[in-house]
């Protein structure tokens, strides 16, 4: 069952989320990554178009959220700062709630930049670790295979000294080979970071998102994963009142299932899902130079099918049940609209 607030947030035309990919290049080469890094930095034409879109929409909104994704978004930190500054300015002028955050590997997140972004209401950070230093440096490496853990950890611990209002969610990847390592890392996080409520931990299972099927041997089944999380964290329930993994989410509606959430790629292509980057079903339109959107509504609607039956699996991951084509969609055969009239 979905709460009233979850549905209102998902459907309200007064809220808008833009998932922006300022570059699709990355300074890491994680061994399991599904991205191909083919598209580079967002060109000036797209940057200006995004700003025009924001300017057009903000007067009608109650809330605007920017979610920075990539590639590694901080490789294009100037674009992140420029668009965030613009959006904050116009949201302040119209009294619109404005916030944002980054899905980043944390390597380039130096203190001065971090504080600048937080001052622009970009307060939420998801940073991934793959285990303790030994294990993390096996899988989350630079293109030259050099390690990354020490610098990320150094950044993380330095932020603790800041007075700023931010939230860092440490995403800990779990697979069949790194359970002991994640357990050691979790103990370290617990003693050094979780004493500060601005930090939290979220476990995530490594899964196959790449058709090359390159991590198959490492993937845990759901039962073993649940047992592993209890072993790692020492509890089968929430951590500090927060849901601790994707299998513990309640009422979760994926951003891709929200009509007002759009991903704008570095080349101006518009999609819904940040995982299926090369899936044609996920290319629903493009942003034009004047900030207007050229959207295929039939393609957009395929991502919203979960609202037909309030299916938890479809609303939490519309990609998992996405029809292979519009012709195969339930919408192509449905006459009944699910409308309530009071």
């Amino acid at each position: 069952m979905y709460s009233e607030q979850a549905l209102v947030n998902a459907l309200s035309p007064k809220l808008m989320e833009l998932i922006l990919l300022p570059t699709e290049k990355c300074n890491f080469r994680c061994t399991y990554c599904y991205e191909d890094f083919a598209i580079g930095r967002m060109p000036r034409r797209v940057i200006d178009a995004v700003k025009r879109l924001i300017a057009n929409r903000v007067p009608e909104l109650q809330g605007l959220t920017l979610s920075w994704f990539g590639g590694e978004p901080l490789l294009a930190k100037d674009i992140c700062v420029e668009i965030s500054e613009f959006a904050k300015g116009i949201c302040d002028r119209y009294g619109v709630d404005f916030e944002g955050g980054f899905t980043t590997n944390g390597y380039l997140l130096e203190t001065e930049l971090f504080q600048k972004l937080v001052a622009l209401n970009q307060r939420n950070y998801q940073i991934t670790l793959d285990g303790d230093e030994e294990w993390h440096n096996k899988t989350r490496v630079q293109p030259n295979r050099k390690p990354t853990f020490e610098r990320i950890w150094s950044n993380l611990t330095r932020f603790k000294e800041l007075p700023d209002n931010f939230r860092i969610s440490l995403r800990l990847h779990v697979h069949g080979d790194n359970i002991e390592s994640v357990r050691r890392l979790y103990a370290r996080i617990q003693s050094e970071l979780l004493t500060d409520s601005r930090y939290s931990v979220y476990f995530h299972k490594i899964s196959n998102l790449d058709p090359r099927d390159q991590v198959k041997e490492m993937v845990l089944n759901d039962h073993d994963y649940a047992n592993a999380l209890s072993y790692i964290s020492g509890t089968s329930s929430e951590i500090n009142g927060r849901q601790k993994s994707e299998i513990h989410l309640k009422d979760y509606i994926c951003y891709a299932a929200k009509p007002n959430s759009l991903m704008i790629r570095a080349n101006g292509t518009i999609g819904k899902c940040t995982v299926a980057l090369n899936d044609e079903r996920n290319s629903i339109g493009r942003i034009l130079d004047d900030g207007s959107l050229d959207i295929s509504n039939p393609k957009l609607r395929q991502w919203l099918l979960g609202y037909m039956d309030m299916s938890n699996s479809t609303l939490s991951c519309p990609l998992s049940t996405l029809p292979k084509s519009i012709a195969e969609s339930p919408l192509a055969h449905s006459e009944l609209a699910l409308t309530l009239v009071d």
Binding site: M1, Y2, S3, E4, L7, V8, L11, S12, P13, K14, M16, L53, N56, R57, E60, P259, N260, L262, S292, L293, D294, I295, N297, L300, R301, Q302, L304, L305, Y307, M308, D309, M310, L331, S334, E335, L336, A337, L338, T339, L340, V341, D342
Partner: protein, 76 residues
Amino acid sequence: MAAAMIVHPADISMGSDGSVSYQGETSKSVPLMADRQFTAQGKNYNCGNIQCTGDGSNNVVCTNIDCHTTGPTPGG
């Protein structure tokens, strides 16, 4: 004023300005039954409070929604 909650994807569209519309007038209506229940797509739904306002056109804004399915319709 018509008050409606529209959750059928066929009724949702996005305009070139990026705004999302819910096109109520193109939909068939499923009247609420006693105890705020209704049946659609072969399932029973229970609804709590639903308070929506129209803006004079086809757009609606829902501020208070709480529906959940209670299982398949008998015989459906």
